[in-house]
Amino acid sequence: MGHHRLGRLPKTQRWREVVDVLSASPGDVQAISRAVLRAAEERLRALAHDESLTYSFWLLTRITWAARQDDFAGVLSELGLDVAEDTSSLVFISSVADRLRGRFAKHTQSGPFTELASIALRRALSETIGQRGPSLFDSSVEDLRLALRTYSTPVQFGAIAHLFFGDFLARTLTYFLDREVANAVGALPSKSALETNREVLAGIDLYARQSARIARDFAGGWYAKHNWESKGEISQDEASRFVGYALKKLRMELQRESD
């Protein structure tokens, strides 16, 4: 019963330009990214106000903040995330995905971007434990708390915000591009078409994640300011405004590097 639904890029002028760049310059990740940003500009602008994306980011700020509190489990419980002493990191991150799915079950208008936001949050949490804690598989929620605790300083929050936005941006770009890469891209010198296909997507993925480094610069400052002003209670509205600003900056960064 494993049927999959695939699609291709529309045949409008701007999407045709994406295909043209893929065909002519498959190794030029900057030009490819720029073309996608131009073609999907309207939708990407609308994402700045997407409730599921902003909530996912807000949840990240709350989980990170909770890691600094004495009653980690209590704060998480207020967020709808129940943890016990023996809860593993794996189960906790899985429960975060369930929480988002439950909250946005009726939010069908975002289509796949709700899931992409949820995946970005899972990735940020997963990498955090991988970089700062013991092995993901053997770790408890306490290990995750200790790992997240190191990310709750302004500087380190910038790092986890980078992970979140980098993943969301990378998966959004490849969500569009993987419709045509196999058809539009031939073989790069010394590469098979299959390997070229993989490298193009991996190149875009890496470029997006690297470009999101700028989130480090402004996310840390924002986190410090609003955490102090709100006494640790950053609101969803504040998070929403930040996501709008961050997406705008990220789009500009991709454009700037591309020009």
Binding site: M1, G2, H3, H4, R5, L6, G7, R8, L9, P10, W15, A40, R43, L90, V91, I93, S94, S95, A97, R101, G102, A105, K106, T108, Q109, S110, G111, P112, F113, T114, E115, I119, R122, R123, S126, E127, G130, S135, L136, F137, D138, T174, Y175, F176, L177, D178, R179, A182, N183, A187, P189, S190, K191, S192, A193, L194, E195, N197, R198, L201
Partner: protein
């Protein structure tokens, strides 16, 4: 994003839904002359003990209406680049025997959670009083079969995975499974019958009784074919029967890799990649059954930790490899010729082809039974090429990712870690190992096929856009100015592409080898003899070819030629 309301079999429009805006308002009927949904149960072979009670039958009805509605509202289609219409709001007003029971928040929420996850939609239900199904509730009692009473239910689709699970259950575990089938079309029905005949012929220890449910649209084709709710229907049929017979296990078999919802293409987000046997779907479904039945059956997938190739080994282990050719896995099987039931290019066909080759079952799953042999045939642009390249691309991506990072690379895997898993670390390790075994299998099969097709590659006869053709690196000159596809049938030089016939390609290859050996000029006589040409002049072989006197030019020595690179 569609908001659709369906009133089922005369159910009224609930007042709380009257003021809401619906883009689609429809009715679904399985009673009366205007019925557009067929819902019929029949004992196909043997009679079995038991009576489907009103609650179980209500479950089947709900699942059937869901299945009917699912096919009635478009999800945007392949041109919907933003997936704006993929997720729908689906509201169903349904008559049931016991509306008070089904209207309980716990029950309704459990149904919605299960369907939301498997379909990506937002499902809502309203239940009103309805009559029991006259004459369709009894699974005929036959006392003669009391002693051979079934002890489990297997959802038997006619595909390879359910076939393997049936054999394993009956033969290795000495169980007595009752086969429950959803029979959407006559060809599927025919396929299931053929497979059952084979099972009965080879395994005399059990009669493999089968119960079939005819559930399909009537009068018009579906406007939406993704059928994400089909596994809910299938599982509901099995659970209703299991409940009637007081059986515990309901087997919904699919190989583990397909079940995981790992996107092999980046556009496959959420249920755009199937979740029909995802561990979380099974968990949510079982949770719903616990709320519905006092002694609930349990939905299981015995193949969840096996690759498709590993599942197919069951056929080999029991000496029934020949049954594989009677099973059909294709997503586009409808309307295909009986001798070639597989399209070859859908994700199911690609996965099956790799698996049967990996399991050493090629002679029972012949390439001729596929509309296209992906390894040697030219993959058309669009879905076929994207699917085939992405399928191999996923395998490469898995093997290039350190195993500790696979959950970072594929955060979708977290959905496979269930809230009540007592050993999530072991589950995670098993998932990683499963993916790695699958990836290694895929690349080994591709390598084997490349070796098998080596003569065609060398001769330049392999389609460059076949899967093997696409996986072979082109030849390239040291300065990067000249590139040739394997076999030299296609050459790129100074921004232009040249295509050569078989003998012409051999000439170009000889000249290229000479170039690499720093002895670029080759005598005409030698070349003509080497390519077994009956002509006396090389230029005759390249008559009117654009490469003549541009890419292929005269050397300094008399009667010699070289590549102009």
């Amino acid at each position: 994003m569609a908001r659709a309301l369906f009133l089922c079999d005369g159910a009224s429009k609930p007042w709380e839904w009257r003021d809401r805006a619906w883009e689609v308002e429809g009715v679904i009927r399985h009673h009366g002359p205007k019925a557009d949904l067929n819902l019929r149960v029949e004992n196909l072979s043997h009679r079995v003990l038991g009576t489907i009670d009103a609650r179980a039958w209500d479950l089947v009805r709900i699942a059937a209406y869901v299945y009917g509605a699912d096919q009635s509202v478009r999800r945007g289609g392949p041109k919907d680049v933003y997936g704006a219409a993929w997720r729908r709001t689906m509201a169903l007003s349904i008559p049931v025997v016991d509306p008070d029971f089904w209207s309980q928040e716990e029950i309704r929420q459990a149904l919605q959670d299960t369907l939301d996850f498997v379909s990506d939609d937002d499902w809502e239900f309203h239940f009103s009083p309805g009559a029991p199904e006259p004459g369709q509730l009894v699974l005929n009692v036959d006392k003669a079969e009391l002693l051979s009473r079934p002890d489990s239910v297997i959802l038997f689709s006619g595909g390879a995975d359910s076939l393997c699970a049936t054999i394993e259950k009956a033969v290795d575990e000495h169980s007595r499974p009752l086969l429950v089938s959803h029979r959407p079309t006559p060809p599927v029905d025919s396929r299931q019958k053929t497979l059952l005949a084979g099972l009965r012929e080879h395994f005399a220890m059990w009669a493999f009784p089968q119960l079939g449910f005819w559930i399909h649209r009537r009068g018009s084709d579906a406007v939406e074919t993704s059928q994400r709710s089909r596994s809910f229907l299938f599982a509901s049929l099995g659970s209703a029967v299991a409940s009637a017979l007081n059986l515990r296990d309901v087997i919904l078999a699919d190989n583990g890799v397909v079940s995981l919802n790992i996107p092999f293409n980046a556009q496959l987000v959420g249920a755009l990649a199937t979740r029909s046997t995802h561990p979380k779907f099974l968990w949510l479904f079982n949770k719903a059954m616990q709320a519905i039945f006092d002694d609930p059956p349990q939905l299981l997938n015995p193949l969840s930790n096996r690759t498709r190739a590993e599942a197919l080994h069951i056929l080999r282990a029991h000496g029934v490899e020949a049954l594989l050719q009677e099973s059909v896995s294709c997503a586009h099987a409808r309307g295909r010729p009986a001798v070639q039931p597989h399209c070859g290019v859908c994700s199911q066909c690609i996965d099956r082809r790799f698996a049967s080759l990996a399991a050493g079952l090629e002679e029972h799953d012949l390439a001729e039974c596929y509309g296209l042999d992906i390894f040697s045939g030219s993959l058309p642009e669009g879905d076929p090429r994207t699917l085939a390249i992405s399928y191999v691309g996923l395998a490469r991506r898995i093997l290039k990712t350190p195993e500790d990072d696979l959950f970072d690379e594929f955060p979708q895997l977290y959905d496979c870690i269930l809230p009540d898993d007592p050993t999530p670390d072991r589950t995670a390790e098993a998932l990683v190992a499963l993916l790695q075994r699958h990836a290694r299998t895929v690349l080994r099969v591709l390598q084997d096929q490349a070796i098998k097709l080596a003569p065609e590659i060398a001769a330049g006869d392999l389609a460059p856009t076949s899967l093997v053709g696409l996986s072979v690196s082109p030849v390239e000159s040291p300065n990067g100015d000249f590139r040739a596809a394997p076999g030299f049938r296609s050459v790129w030089w100074q921004g232009q592409q040249y295509t050569f016939g078989s003998k012409q390609a051999q000439v170009v290859e000889i000249l290229y080898q000479a170039y690499l050996s720093a002895t670029p000029e080759v005598g005409q006589d030698y070349i003509l003899e080497a390519v077994e040409s009956s002509g006396r002049r090389l230029r005759d072989l390249f008559k009117d070819h654009p490469a003549w006197k541009s890419l292929i030019v005269s050397g300094k020595g008399k009667g010699t030629f070289r590549l102009n690179i």
